[in-house]
Symmetry: C2
């Protein structure tokens, strides 16, 4: 299966995307790679790596969309970018999926514009993986749609359930509606309506509150994209904040070198759960194609896992299952 | 100054409220207390304490509003409750303020219904104190108003600035608008409008994101009450989650007893910042009176500090300053 990889996406290109892609191809017989980006940059990086040349291909795309570029850049200003060329190649059936650790807004815009929506989808969405005491939950929407209509919550629940069970191997995923209280009558009129709409939905556990998130109360957390985005970024700040707060405490207490190492070591191991590396990327759910985005800071391991996730989405016919779920 | 204290509010009544009130009266010459609640319950508790009887008074209120009672209970079903009687006494000028660690919804409803709004206020609000790397920021609205109009953001900013400078002793408090990105054009149409409306507001630092909150980027975080409530409860869950996650890590690593004590001790000291005890309660800003609410789990120390905060609000003429700020 040929997976296109954005060679110039994220904060550490071309090293990490190229290395991650090569690792995926080296480790998995069924994976072939199409590296998308400036050819010279990619070749220079590949020169330093060992790989089987018949499994690594290059699609030249001279332009680079930076992390600060606007969402519209991919479809308006930079049509020769890795994102636009890569998704176009996927659209034309040249590869099974496109993955990138690059600009999420530009990726979403290009995916929507070039690939379109799956049959029956109101709006595609992006779910974030959220670390919890129990493992990993999905938080949807994570910023693609700031305001939602009630039907969108239901569709997002359906799409996430498929991703959760097919790709994350969760049996019978549970769903919670993020709200300001547990009772069905809590929240805005919108939330009350959504609660009603979801009441018969298999796996729906009712409202969940902010305090339930880190405990992993349900496998899927439904939220508007505004609150979801705030929570996503808040969560990502926790490990660094904790390090800083702890370092301050230990300085104040005059802790010795050994104590500092012990404490920070344990925190480091614990915060590993907040590391997005193991999860890899997340697809734009509802898009008529397979386009995955990873964190800008993705490691080589994260890039490799994103490629494997993409392959798994294709093999498990995630999009086909989404269409069936939405239209039945 | 006579401060009325809800003797049956919170998760630990009557012990903590009564003890906190007695401590405040014992430690501060200018503080006198009016304990509101079932007389027999209060007297039984007072019997165990040492205090100067001319500084502690009782207002009998036979009914108790539980933490699970509806917001309307205070103004509809339970008119002889400590909350309703206490706020009524304040309304009639019998005491300078009313404080409670009880049901926030019922307290807000009773305060709104019995005391009304200050001149020029669209909607009263409640700000939460949020621990950060720099100290404590105010998060407003924390759940009283789930959806806001642009003008409400501006009023909340004005009211919080007064509370922050007068009561929390912050010089020239800074204000940030919680949003999904830093740039002024980020967010919903509402957020763009609010950003414009605040652009000339003294201390306004523009948009802040979820990742900025724990760093204490500004002294005041403006948010709709839905997102604010989710963030508030999320933050409160962090200390326990961290303890559980760390305990799990240490068990997996086979850490010895000494290591466990060292690590959990440091975490305990660090998480002290997330403890609401030092802050005491927060007033309903914009209400025509002085009504403060504290966390249901408030300690004796927190109750005492809430009483001191109430006195400080009265002394510093917080309401007078709010009216001036809103109408100029």
């Amino acid at each position: 299966m040929l997976i296109a990889v954005d060679a110039v996406g994220g904060d550490h290109y071309p090293e990490r995307p190229v290395q991650g892609a090569v690792n995926a191809a080296n480790e998995f017989d069924n994976i072939e790679i199409l590296l998308v980006g400036p050819e010279d940059l990619i070749k220079k990086e590949l020169d330093q790596l060992e790989y089987s040349s018949n499994k690594i291909n290059i699609l030249h795309a001279p332009e680079i969309i930076g992390m600060q570029d606007s969402a519209a850049s991919a479809v308006k200003q930079k049509r020769n970018s890795s994102i636009t060329r890569g998704i176009s190649a996927h659209k034309q059936g040249e590869c099974a999926a496109f993955v990138s650790a690059g600009n999420t807004g530009a990726l979403l815009a290009a995916s929507m514009f070039l690939l379109g929506k799956l049959d029956g989808v109101i709006r595609p969405t992006i779910a974030a993986t959220y670390p919890t005491l129990k493992g990993i939950s999905l938080l949807v929407d994570a910023g693609a749609n700031l305001e939602l209509k009630p039907e969108m919550y239901l569709q997002f629940a359906k799409m996430c359930k498929i991703f959760s069970s097919e790709i994350m191997n969760v049996e019978n995923p549970t769903v919670g509606l993020l709200n300001v209280g547990e009772e069905p009558e809590k929240g805005t009129d919108l939330h009350k309506e959504v609660h009603k709409l979801l009441s018969d939905f298999p796996g729906f556990q009712g409202n969940i509150e902010g305090k339930d998130i880190l405990y992993g109360k349900t496998d899927i957390y439904l939220s508007d994209g505004f609150t979801g985005n705030v929570l996503l970024k808040f969560g990502e700040s926790i490990p660094d904040i904790l390090f800083q707060m702890l370092s301050k405490t230990m300085q104040e207490k005059g802790a010795d070198q050994e104590t500092r190492q012990t404490v920070l070591g344990m925190i480091n191991d614990t915060m590993h759960a907040f590391n997005y590396e193991h999860v890899g990327g997340i697809p734009f759910l509802g898009v008529n194609g397979m386009s995955l985005v990873g964190h800008g800071g993705s490691s080589v391991e994260a890039i490799k896992n994103m490629i494997l996730n993409a392959a798994k989405c294709v093999e498990n016919q995630v999009n086909h299952k989404i269409v069936n779920s939405l239209n039945n």
